[in-house]
Subunit: 107 residues, 2 copies
């Protein structure tokens, strides 16, 4: 769309396009979030500290991990999918982990 | 490394490689985390509920936002950089927001 090279053949045009707009097209194809709630403008997850505290208490090791790779089947919770992404791509991402250490002091 | 086409010229080899491994190469170039702590195997940030509670209290609106786009200059906190990413790419990512509503009940 940026350059309309009418004199070129169909094949040449496609080739030119690939080269010319490689940067922006590649970005569009490389959403960080490829699958989750793509019908909403912005996926924001909101929790209150009290709820998280409850989750921490319920979990065996009193921690809750929140996904930052957008690949988790339990999103917004982390299910370990970041490991597959890191292995596949060489990336180094991981979750936000919230602990409830104060709990062990209280009870 | 996967295929060593010794009979090809240097140029041909590079061309073949680009086509053959396009998928995986593209992934390598498209790290979700392009810049942060690339020297560590996995970036995991750990907070205790007590610390977060303190942060919530300190912030004017009693919320703390954690980055899930890996673009924030205040990582692991969100600085709004997700908006530029979403605009640039058409993606729809946003932070994890933690509120401290219980605080208003207590005091
Ligand atoms: S599954 Fe996404 S960070 Fe763990
Ligand atoms: S700056 Fe990364 S989610 Fe807001």
């Amino acid at each position: 769309m940026a350059s309309s090279n009418i004199s070129g053949t169909a094949v040449d045009q496609s080739k030119n396009k690939d080269t010319a707009t490689e940067g922006s097209n590649q970005l569009k194809n490389e959403y960080i979030n490829k699958t989750l709630k793509k019908d909403v403008d912005k996926v924001v997850d909101k929790y209150d500290l009290q709820d998280i505290s409850g989750q921490c208490n319920a979990s065996q090791n009193k921690t809750v991990s929140y996904c930052r790779c957008w690949k988790s089947k339990k999103f917004p919770l982390c299910d370990g999918s970041h490991n597959a992404w890191n292995k596949e791509t060489g990336d180094n991402i991981g979750p936000l982990v919230i602990t409830n250490n104060s709990q062990s002091n209280k009870q």
